[in-house]
């Protein structure tokens, strides 16, 4: 019998696995990380001592619950950590585990591939000492380290204040928080944000705490440049400069959609996420038979929504497979998810996408850190008449390197749209190509 397979052991994947097991199905849960939990509830290595409260703050209870669930599941399901899904083809996933390649056939598949930071490059962003906000958080949560001695936090999104707060709490020197969103945007967003008053309150708490502890918070402040030679020396915004030796920045999150793409899922433009996303119905069914989507990998909703979506997708899968499921439970989950979607709308208002970024990006700015392609090089290709991102990539290698456009792809689309005078949803999306991550020569192939 072909197993039900779940890809991604974050909040969505773990909840999906739990739900399936509760209904008598023993899934195979494949995860790239060494330990389950995803990014938000990422677990520290086993010999670390800090408490959940120290690691996850307000989210400690939820994190512990997820870890507890996973500890139970690990003994009962086919759990495969440290395993990369590098390709999907013909009802099979191709896996890579410690230099060994094998493939697994699935009867049904839940894709819960999560998200990474959404990056809008800024001059100096490849210097040692510059990290994504998520990276800064991982350094602390997973390794007990700060990314530098004096750290500036820049960009926008809920993670901005949270990570700055976590750093200051842990004893790091936070020199400033630059929020590119103006205060007025956050006032406008208030009605929608009130749909999740607790989440809103946490956000306000972090900011108030930072101010109360003398950490400068600049609103409507857009990071313009990171200075440094071999490493970071300081930052600039507006007419101001500030010395620091590390910078964490991002503008919210972006979905990891490559696997859904290789599976053949239909994509649609999401103005809320300002991204192309694999389509799913309210229960999590993709456009491809037997493939379900859950969690931030199909649109950013946060960890709590990811758990609900994981359960929803598992229930839909069970129902499609002929099992009886609790309809009221599923409807309740879908209702809650709709409410969170409303809150997400509020977050986008509070932390609006910096639409002027593309017009203001200097030609010299390095856009693609893998292939080292500048904004000017991309603009030159657009000026030759190209306006579709895959064609632009073909002509100047932008997004063609090791990361396959994960870091620069969205920014490339912004530059192409701005330069060609098209709307951002009219310039296409970078096609996913196997391998999802690099694949070594000399790989051993399991029969």
């Amino acid at each position: 019998m072909k197993p039900v397979v779940i890809v991604g052991a974050g909040p969505a994947g773990i909840r999906a696995a739990r739900t399936l097991l509760d209904h008598g199905i023993r899934p195979c849960l494949i995860d790239e990380n060494l330990r389950a939990g995803g990014q938000i509830y990422r677990r520290q290595p086993e010999n670390f001592q800090r408490s959940a409260k120290q690691l996850y703050g307000f989210e400690a209870g939820k994190a512990l619950a997820v870890h507890h669930t996973m500890d139970e599941l690990a003994r009962l399901i086919d759990y495969r950590p440290h395993t990369l899904v590098w390709n999907a083809e013909d009802g099979r996933l191709d896996l890579l585990d410690n230099g060994r390649a094998e493939s697994i056939e699935y009867s049904r598949l839940i894709v819960a591939t999560g998200a990474t930071d959404r990056i809008l490059p800024v001059t100096g962003w490849t210097l040692p000492g510059v990290y994504s906000l998520g990276a800064a958080q991982i350094a602390l949560k997973y390794q007990g380290c700060a990314i530098g001695e004096r750290v500036a936090f820049c960009g926008s999104g809920p993670l901005l204040y949270l990570v700055a707060y976590q750093y200051a709490q842990a004893g790091a020197k936070v020199v400033a928080v630059l929020d590119s969103a103006p205060f007025s945007a956050q006032c406008r967003a208030l009605p929608a944000l009130l749909r999740q008053p607790l989440t809103l309150a946490k956000g306000m708490y972090y900011r108030a705490w930072l101010s109360a502890h003398g950490i400068p918070v600049h609103q409507g402040a857009t990071l313009r440049q990171i200075d440094g030679d071999q490493r970071v020396h300081g930052i600039r915004w507006g007419e101001q400069t500030l010395e620091c030796d590390a910078v964490a920045f991002a503008h919210a999150l972006r979905s990891e959609t490559q696997l859904a793409d290789l599976l053949g899922c239909e994509f649609a433009w999401s103005s809320l996420n300002r991204a192309w996303l694999p389509q799913r119905d309210s229960a999590g069914r993709s456009s491809v038979e037997a493939v379900y989507l859950a969690g931030d990998g199909a649109g950013i909703m946060g960890a709590e929504a990811a758990q609900m979506a994981g359960e929803c997708a598992a229930l839909a899968l069970l129902e499609d497979a002929g099992s009886t499921v609790d309809q009221r439970r599923r409807e309740a989950l879908q209702k809650q998810l709709a409410r969170i979607r409303g809150f997400r709308q509020g977050l986008e208002t509070a932390f609006p996408f910096p639409e002027h970024w593309a017009a203001q990006a200097p030609d010299e700015l390095m856009l693609c850190r893998c292939e080292e392609v500048s904004v000017g090089a991309v603009r030159a290709v657009v000026d030759e008449g190209h306006w579709e991102v895959n064609r632009v990539k073909a002509h100047c290698r932008v997004g063609m390197g090791r990361c396959q456009g994960r870091m620069c792809g969205l920014a490339v689309a912004e530059i192409v749209a701005e330069r060609s005078g098209r709307r951002i949803d009219q310039v296409g999306r970078l096609r996913g190509q196997a391998p999802i991550k690099p694949l070594p020569f000399g790989v051993e192939v399991q029969p």
């Binding site: 040692p128 530098g148 001695e149 893998c370 090791r402």
Partner: protein
Amino acid sequence: MALFKRLTETQRPALAFTLDGQPATGLLGDTLLTAVLTCAEHVRGSDFSAERRAGFCLMGACQDCWVRLGDGRRVRACSTLLEAGQAISRDPGRQP
């Protein structure tokens, strides 16, 4: 000089390794990235300008922290745990 600063969890057992042939020390539970950046300032040189890089996303997405191990394997420093005696070497990248 170091890039990363250890704030906590400093009482772990030490692990000796070498970085570009020089002896260095990390702690049990460090990733290769942490081990390297708590005693040095970069993990690789960029492919087309030998510009110093020190990783970026720390979650296996950006592919900007590949290093070479003594046994010839190439691994992402952010998602590989340090083992005692490892010989880590940094690719200097290529000058234009």
